[in-house]
Amino acid sequence: MSDLVMPKFGLTMTEGLLTEWHVAPGAAFRAGDMLFTVETEKVANEIEAEADGTLAEILVQAGDTVPVGTPVARLAGGVAAPPPMAAAPAETASGKDTLDSPAARKLMAEHGLAREAVDATGRDGRVMKEDVLRLIATPLARRLAEAGGVDLSRVEGSGPRGRIKARDVEAAAQAVPAPPPAPSPALPEVTEIVPDATRRATAARVSAAKRDIPHFYLTHEADMVALARLRAELNAEGHGQKISVTHMLIRALGLALEEMPQMNRIWAGDRILAFGRADIGMVAETPDGLRIPVVRDAGGTSLDAVAAQAGALAERARTGRLTPADVGDGVISISNVGMFGVSSLTPIINPPNAMILGVGAERSLFRPDADGAPALRRELTLTLACDHRIIDGADAARFLSAVVALLETPLRLLRPARKPA
């Protein structure tokens, strides 16, 4: 028995959508046969069998998106097609070899190196890429390292292509002598946990987003009294999907985008993509971590239809059954943490979105009325994060004000969008 795993195409791929199985469970296949199709952001890839075998059991159904390295099927007799990632679940029967990093195995194969001849430095005796790579150091650096007892594999090269030069060895030699301080008895206990593929994928994605997107933030309070009253009346009718504040926010964003189409755009590196429809993502907690299902055409459809769509998406997200069609596209997502009592949220944009709206909890408070007397209000804090590559501050402010105006005159949520002037 061996596993067939989700392969990795390209450096940035963290998960893949298995779109189709070409072999049925129990069926035999021959080397070269198409086993399944994987779709990434860029392309669809056909996965071929590397050897003859039989598909014993399908673990990931067509339509599911799983992290790279996840077993997608069990094979009987055959050899798994693509090599698993270094940190893929290691249930394989063939043992040690498959634990080596794929880059290391490729290098060993290219240079005809026997695995036994390589000193493995990875966890559990894995051969890592660095173990096979030729160390690039100048002759003088090598001589100095040998004389000074410096381990070149631990020295970072500052020369071209990372070449280790004499100055690097000298710096390393100076850094070495300090003996490790005696461990403090008061150190708290720390457990090292290897993050799973989902966590690592999330970490990579949000790091890239926060690093690459020049965020700026706008905050606006919205008075919710009228909206709460309308919502209560609508829900009192009690037919169809119950309407939540989030649904009304989605509808408001949809209308605002319809009325300000210049905001319905994203930055795509070398060009700008303008959308003709207002799709609104909603950040949802799922068993597989955070996902962002998308309500389609929130500006062109009715509030009831938005609520129905959003309700169905939330249900599928909760049960981990989101389909690829449920996610992707849109210029804005909404992240509502109001249910935790948090007053506001400053969120990170989810690429390729250009905006994200952080929503806090509704709060009751007094504001001075026209006569300066305290008036009880219910307010919501909205924080809009924008991608400054495509959105300027004034436009963003107009957009957020428009959203707030829609929320404060909520009957407009029941009407079609006003055509932009």
Binding site: P139, L140, G159, A166
Partner: protein, 324 residues
């Protein structure tokens, strides 16, 4: 100590050598009545007469052949080939006769001749009057090749060449003929095969000869402004060349650039780089970088020739590469 020019230093060396040794005589095209195309032999016909200053026809093979024969019979001829480009016509005499005589006669004979010839560009003289062909001669066992970089060396190396019992090619640089420099009252005696540290430094070594020495010194000046101390070695002699001096310098600086005006490919720089990559391997802290002319004939046009000839900027770029 008096200031002189390169060409005058050559003239002085010939004059002094002829004064000191009656077996020294000159032969070449236009060297007598005209005093030489570049005036290296000015006034010498008047001083020493037509028996010691022969105007030859335009026949480089004959000029060289006469010199080899005269040298074999005990004379000390100094032949002039007007442009190094025409040394092609002297090659049989030099390579098959002058270079071989000592070995073929079991050490009982020698060819104490000198062949003076100018190489190099910068005068817009075109592809047939600008070449630097010293590597051809340095490749032949039995020939010595010196390339002076300044007036004082032009004097001393020519005197050393005339005194040498074996054939020596003295390669002068046309662009340096007008160069001014100090001439010591008692000129230095230079041993052929010994280099000179033209500028001491600790961070990188530039090996050069002839006109490239000045370019290397200018490059060192640029680097010094950035705190990089470049050592410049003037080889003086490319065959034999001072391997020990270069190795000693490399052992201090650990980075090496080799510069010459000649085409880079298959040149003197290749030999020096190869030797240092071998005997100096453990001293290297960067690639050995060569600077030379591109693999193309020297162009006529002024701007093209400027782009073709090595210069201080290219040496600076090479230094930055090896020091990266």
């Amino acid at each position: 100590m008096a200031e002189t020019r390169y060409i005058k230093a050559v003239n002085q060396a010939l004059k002094d050598a002829m004064r000191d040794d009656p077996t020294v005589f000159l032969i070449g095209e236009d060297i007598g009545a005209a005093g030489g195309s570049f005036k290296a032999t000015r006034d010498l016909l008047d001083l020493y007469g037509p028996e010691r200053v022969y105007d030859a026809p335009i026949a480089e093979a004959a000029i060289t052949g006469i010199a080899v024969g005269a040298a074999l019979t005990g004379m000390k001829p100094v032949a002039e080939i007007m442009f190094m480009d025409f040394i092609t016509l002297s090659m049989d005499m030099l390579v098959n006769q002058a270079a071989k005589a000592r070995s073929m006669f079991g050490g009982q004979g020698s060819v104490p001749m000198v062949l003076r010839t100018p190489h190099g560009g910068g005068l817009n003289a075109g592809p047939q009057h600008s070449q630097c062909l010293e590597a051809w001669l340095a490749h032949v066992p039995g020939l010595k090749v010196v390339v002076p970089s300044n007036p004082a060396d032009a004097y001393s190396l020519l005197r050393a060449a005339i005194d040498d019992p074996d054939p020596v090619i003295v390669v002068e640089n046309k662009a340096l003929y007008a160069m001014k420099g100090e001439m010591p009252d008692t000129p230095e005696r230079i041993e052929i095969g010994k280099a000179r540290i033209a500028r001491p430094g600790r961070d990188a070594t530039v090996v050069a000869y002839g006109a490239a020495v000045g370019m290397a010194e200018a490059a060192a000046e640029v680097m010094a402004a950035e705190g990089v101390e470049v050592e410049v070695i003037d080889l003086r002699s490319v065959q034999p060349w001072d391997e020990a001096c270069v190795l000693e310098s490399l052992s201090r600086t650990h980075n090496l650039v080799v510069v010459h005006e000649a085409v880079e490919a298959f040149g003197v720089g290749a030999e020096i780089a190869a030797r240092m990559a071998d005997i100096g391997f453990d001293e290297l802290d960067g690639p050995i970088v060569r600077v030379g002319a591109p693999f193309a004939p020297s162009p006529f046009g002024k701007t093209l020739e400027e782009a073709y000839r090595p210069n201080a900027d290219r040496i600076v770029a090479a230094l930055r590469r090896t020091l990266a």
